[in-house]
């Protein structure tokens, strides 16, 4: 990135809402899609080297701060790191993968992300996703690729009161509007907090 550049525009300019839980559009973050043979040492090194995190198992999410490795499918990972490290991370990963068939693509700008905080977040998400949002259905630290109403989304719980959602940038407004409605005051379900 050139120094003359402004910071990247967020889809909703950092929109936020407080209801049953608090919802905030997360700051831009580097997201790098890595497709390859997840069992190969080169792919593992590319993912773990750039994040300093262990490889997650199927459906797993490993994270520290704003770095993460998300298991997306049997041949795909999503690497998260600070936005301004995207280019160096891409270069570093390409170096690890030299000669091995793999695909590394920068998806940082293709996605929007929301932080959810509060005790009722399992209830709020269960209004929008058909995935099982119970503690056993989606334990803390497991990534779920599902949908929110009519649009694809991935999400994971960082704790019982904190979750992150990743969706396509073009539908950020739709997802934010959905979350606002699902978290409207007076709509608590109290299904998961028994």
């Amino acid at each position: 990135m050139s120094e003359t550049q402004a910071t990247p525009a967020m889809a909703l300019g950092g929109a936020a809402f407080n209801g049953l839980i608090s919802i905030r559009e997360a700051a831009p973050q580097a997201m790098i899609a890595l497709r390859g043979d997840l069992a190969s040492i080169e792919v593992k090194n590319a993912a773990t080297g750039v994040t300093g995190l262990d490889m997650p198992g199927p459906r797993g999410a490993n994270w520290v701060g704003d770095r993460a490795i998300l298991w997306m499918s049997p041949d795909e990972l999503l690497i998260l790191c600070p936005y301004d490290e995207a280019d160096s991370a891409l270069a570093g990963m390409a170096g690890c993968l030299d000669g091995r068939h793999a695909l590394v693509t920068d998806m940082s700008d293709a996605r929007s992300s929301f932080d959810l905080r509060g005790a009722g977040l399992r209830d709020v998400l269960a209004k929008l996703t058909p995935a099982d949002m119970s503690r056993t259905g989606l334990p803390v630290g497991e990534l779920r690729r599902s949908r929110l109403a009519q649009t694809p989304a991935a999400f994971w719980l960082k704790s019982e009161t904190s979750a992150q959602i990743i969706c396509f940038r073009s539908v950020a407004q739709y997802v934010f509007d959905l979350l606002k409605t699902a978290a409207q005051p007076g709509s608590a379900v109290a299904f998961f907090d028994r």
Binding site: M1, S2, T4, Q5, A6, T7, P8, A9, M10, A11, P28, A33, R35, G36, D75, H101, A102, L103, T105, D106, M107, S108, D109, A110, R111, D123, A126, K127, L128, T129, P130, A131, D132, M133, S134, G137, A149, Q150, T151, F168, R169, S170, V171, A172, Q173, Y174, D177, L178, T181, A182, Q184, P185, G186, S187, A188, V189, F191, R194
Partner: protein, 1005 residues
């Protein structure tokens, strides 16, 4: 008269009055009342008029099965028709209006239909109003619709201001019904620790048991229910919901439940209804049973109620539907109503029992001990009264009626024809029924349950829903069901002992008296809501409607909003009698969800208003919205058709945008363009199979236009492919095609060519894309600065990478307009920066954004095809004269073999040509080229059609493209296109499809 009793009413709070109106009349009830109980407490016995004959109708039931007491609730944006008074909780400010009456409930002109009832039998409309044919639509139907019908539809302009939501729950066991059976089962299953969801449609737990009495383990049922509820509440793994009705059961353990959150507290915050979308490993229906009416003459008069409902009103709400109630029954259970009425101090002049028992059953003995007159072997000959019951005339049940033995003055009649298990939810997903001869009812056949993916039963049923009616049977069944589900031996924890009086068996009575004559049958109602009588069903049978499904549709039995909850069994028993067949051989009609109607709002959930559907917005969307964008949908994207300036028409704006782009420079937000990265050692080979032309020979740094066909040879997408490096390609797709083509690629890679080393990524949204188009395009980019875009460095169909105005970009030199044109992808987070930069870089060049219509006009002027305009799924590249884009060298590509089939290869296919109207007008879109004569179907012969048509500001005339038989061989010929009237035609000349800059000089500068 019906009135509030001085004492009693276990569900009401007499210290909390509730004020409401019925047809504008101010009335008062208590907290805990239903609208039905509050109306009865105010002596409002008449609540509506019937569907067909406008007969006066009163409240019949006390719950979800109510057919008559349907009212309109609320007003304006919150008006809802056909709401059941029996399940509507009274709140302050409730406004209810009765339905289907004119001019008023008490004086209804339509009631004259009843005088002519003998002229309005089943199938009357089908037989009578068939001639002359046109009269049906214009005369008969409007009049019939005015006279028939229930509630009126809300104002089409009304907008529901409430919100609704969905909730997805995954549980081990879903139990539907919170009576004794459901609660006992839930407790026992819950104790094993599995996840249980127990739902109850009513406000209160316990079902009928508190009214029907008896004892469970030395406790009255109410106390036992309290204990059950406390233990269920104490279990973390058990969720309980009231006001939550099991609406439907579907494949794979999917169930819908309908929770009414704020219907009773309309001022409360939050959603009004919540639709529960439940996945359950096991579903248990504990849905209870419904009492059946008896079919006797005048059984629809206000004041005739179900015996169980009558005692519900007394016990639950302290309301007496009448001072003197005659009980008519074929079973012992109705005696409970007599006992309860007497103990409440009300008169029961007689119990009319169709049976003749050899000795008194315990309940009968108890009634007799209270001094109640019991008339065995008797029947009601007819009910006396106009708008409400004033008495009954009795006869022998064994006779044909008419020989009245006695008349008894009364103001209420409590009828009971026995009970039918609520088998709806068991049946929704294929559970079968068996006929229980002893109890004269259909109950679930456990040998034929609804089955899941492994053939396992995923629905079971317990309690009264399973045909178990006594307290002890219900408790034993709950224990057995829990043991079966938890796979523990049933005897580990025995059921509590219940005390309830033993009952003598019922005698099936489908018509009263047994041999009722024609006059009686024509006044004996089966379906109260749809006005179907015994005589109608018998007529249907006589006319050959032998299948129960046919008879249902012919007579409309069970087709009203109550779906025949009270009428189905009686109706099919009458039908089987008329056919001389056994009841189980006639069978039931199909039970379909929902169990009772649910709101459209709940079904839509979040799918309304801003969240009706996902709208995809580009990074430049906000700028476009602020600058006059007239939006059009492109897939789920919104793109500007044009950007209107104040005072401009749409046509003006498009003309201005085209002209400016051709003269100066235009900017297009092309962010929606599909962008797929295809990478790997086999990427070239893969693309050679997907595109009709050769992609593997493309050099890095260069672009090539390509066509993509499906296996059937039809053109499905097109776009420019850029080679990024030795094994990486960027494939551009149409805006609407990105996701589809991505899936298409993954399909072939995963299913057919799984061993090819190729990865695909959809990076459409990673980049905003801006097209800079027009003679001044290069100058504009040079003004922004940072990249050499000269003809030498960046020739046509080349691309470069670098920073433009400090923003990292890639620039493709490609053109969809015929002008000098650059397409610039930029990271989405910086797209708006670049857009602003380009707009403000230099005012001298005449930079001006344009929309999709200008894009379309310019591509049509150049004769470029558009997927979806020139193609419609039946068009092959050869039809479009695009043989040049089909490789002759390749041994194969998707569609190649199909394109060799005789129909694809025949020489007289409709092929692409340009069209110019002789007078310069614009051809109608989709117009057909017509020939003389008609085809075998009597249709006008056609030999071509318009695929794209525009006014060209550049040429100052209408231009079009079309597919015409042998078109390219007919250049210069004038043909005729039909206007939308199908008669008048427009002349147009077949021309070359390239109207503008045929040599392509402008894009090559």
């Amino acid at each position: 008269m019906s009135t509030r009793l001085a004492t009693g009413g276990r569900l009401i709070d007499r210290t909390t009055p509730r004020h409401f109106t019925f047809n504008g009349k101010r009335l008062t009830g208590y907290a805990g009342d239903t609208l039905a109980s509050a109306l009865l407490a105010n002596d409002q016995m008449l609540v509506g008029r019937s569907f067909k004959y406008h007969r006066p109708r009163g409240i019949v039931a006390s719950g979800a099965e109510e057919p008559n007491a349907l009212v309109g609730l609320g007003r304006g944006d919150r008006f809802e028709p056909n709401q059941r008074a029996t399940t509507t909780e009274v709140f302050d400010g409730l406004e209810a209006t009765s339905q289907n009456h004119w001019p008023s409930l008490n004086f209804d002109i339509g009631a004259i239909n009843a005088r002519f009832a003998s002229f309005l039998p089943a199938g009357f409309y089908y037989k009578t109003f068939t001639w002359p044919r046109s009269f049906w639509k214009h005369l008969y139907e409007p009049i019939i619709r005015k006279s028939a019908g229930l509630g009126r539809a809300p104002d089409p302009e009304a907008r529901d201001p409430d919100s609704y939501e969905h909730f997805h729950a995954h549980v081990d066991v879903l139990i539907i019904g919170g009576g004794i059976a459901g609660m006992e089962t839930a407790k026992r299953i819950g104790e094993t620790g599995v996840r249980v969801l127990l739902i109850e449609q009513d406000v209160d737990w316990g079902g009928r048991a508190p009214v029907d009495g008896g004892e469970i383990g030395d406790q009255p049922p109410e106390d036992y229910i309290g204990g059950l509820l406390a233990s269920l509440n104490a279990m973390d793994n058990v969720s309980l919901r009231t006001r939550c009705m099991g609406a439907g059961v579907y494949d794979h353990g999917y169930a819908l439940a309908y929770e009414r959150l704020t219907d009773h507290t309309p001022a409360a915050k939050g959603p009004r209804h919540r639709l529960w979308r439940i996945r359950a490993a096991q579903i248990i229906t504990a849905t209870g049973a419904l009492e059946r009416p008896l079919a006797f003459a005048g059984n629809d008069l206000p004041g005739v109620m179900l015996a169980s409902a009558l005692r519900d009103y007394v016990v639950n709400w302290g309301v007496s539907p009448g001072d003197r109630t005659v009980i008519v029954t074929n079973n012992d259970d109705a005696y409970r109503s007599a006992l309860i009425l007497r103990r409440a101090g009300l008169a029961v002049p007689a119990i009319v029992d169709a049976r003749v028992l050899p000795q008194d059953s315990p309940l009968m003995a108890e009634a007799r001990a209270l001094g109640i007159r019991i008339l065995q072997g008797h029947a009601i000959d007819h009910v006396i009264g106009q708008k409400r019951v004033t008495g009954v005339a009795l006869c022998a049940h064994a006779g044909a009626g008419g020989a009245v033995i006695d008349e008894i003055a009364c103001d209420a009649v409590a009828m009971s024809g026995g009970w039918s298990p609520v088998v709806h939810l068991w049946s929704h997903c294929g559970g079968k029924l068996c006929w229980d001869e002893t109890r004269a009812m259909f109950r679930p056949d456990h040998n034929r349950p609804p089955t899941g993916d492994k053939g396992q039963a995923f629905v079971t049923t317990t309690g009264a829903a399973n045909g178990m009616f006594t307290l002890q049977e219900v408790l034993d069944d709950a224990v057995a069901t829990a043991a079966q589900i938890t796979k523990t031996p049933p005897m580990t924890s025995a059921a509590p002992q219940a005390q309830a009086q033993e009952e003598a068996p019922l005698a099936p009575v489908w018509m009263m008296p047994q041999g009722a004559g024609v006059h009686h049958r024509a006044k004996a109602w089966l379906d109260f809501q749809n006005d179907v009588k015994v005589s109608d069903v018998q007529l249907a049978a006589r006319e050959g409607f032998e299948s129960v499904e046919h008879a249902k549709r012919y007579t409309t039995l069970g087709m009203a909003t109550d779906q025949g909850k009270l009428s189905n069994i009686n109706g099919l028993a009458i039908l089987s009698g008329a056919l001389g067949a056994d009841i189980p051989d006639v069978g039931t009609t199909t039970f379909r969800p929902p169990y009772t109607p649910i709101s459209m709002g709940a079904i839509a959930g979040p799918g309304r208003g801003d969240t009706f559907q996902p709208i995809r917005r580009t990074p430049i969307h906000d700028w476009l919205a602020a600058n006059g964008a007239e939006w059009e949908p492109v897939g789920q994207w919104r793109r500007p058709y044009c950007l209107k300036r104040p005072g401009e028409t749409t046509h003006d704006a498009v003309t201005r945008e085209v002209t400016n782009t051709r003269k100066n420079v235009g900017l297009l937000d092309a962010s929606t363009l599909g962008k797929l990265i295809v990478k790997g050692p086999d990427a070239g080979r893969f693309l050679d199979m997907l595109y009709t032309n050769m992609m593997s020979t493309l050099k890095p740094g260069r672009c090539r236009y390509g066509l993509m066909c499906n296996e059937n040879g039809f053109l499905m997408d097109d776009g420019v492919v850029a080679r990024l490096d030795a094994d990486t390609y960027l494939c551009h797709t149409t805006s609407g095609g990105a996701d589809h083509i991505h899936a298409h690629m993954e399909d072939w890679l995963q299913c057919e060519w799984w061993d090819w080393q190729v990865y695909v990524a959809n990076v459409t949204e990673q980049y905003g894309q801006i097209a800079v188009v027009g003679p001044n395009a290069r100058k504009l980019l040079e003004a922004v600065g940072g990249l050499d875009v000269s003809r030498e460095t960046l020739p046509f169909m080349g691309w470069v990478e670098g920073a433009l105005g400090g923003i990292p970009v890639r620039i493709f030199r490609i053109s969809f307009s015929g002008e000098l044109s650059f397409e610039i992808p930029v990271k989405a987070g910086y797209a708006r920066h670049l857009w602003d930069h380009l707009l403000s870089a230099c005012r001298d060049f005449g930079v001006m954004p344009y929309g999709t219509e200008a894009l379309h006009v310019m591509r049509a002027e150049k004769g470029f095809i558009m997927i979806g305009d020139e193609t419609d799924g039946t068009v092959i590249p050869q039809d479009l004269g695009m043989d040049w884009a089909i490789s002759k060298k390749k041994t194969d590509y998707l569609g190649k073999r199909a394109q060799a089939r005789p129909d694809m290869a025949r020489p007289d296919r409709w092929k692409l040509v340009g069209l110019e109207t002789c007078d310069g007008a614009v051809l109608p879109d989709g117009a057909y080229a017509v020939a003389e004569g008609r085809n075998a179907n009597g249709q006008r012969k056609v030999f071509g059609r318009v695929t794209s048509t525009y006014y060209s500001p550049t040429l100052g005339r209408g231009i079009a493209m079309g597919l015409v038989q042998n078109g390219p061989d007919r250049l210069g010929e004038v043909i005729h296109f039909a206007k939308s009237d199908g008669v008048t035609t427009i002349e147009a000349r077949i021309v070359d499809p390239v109207f503008y800059d045929k040599d392509g000089e402008k894009q090559n500068v």
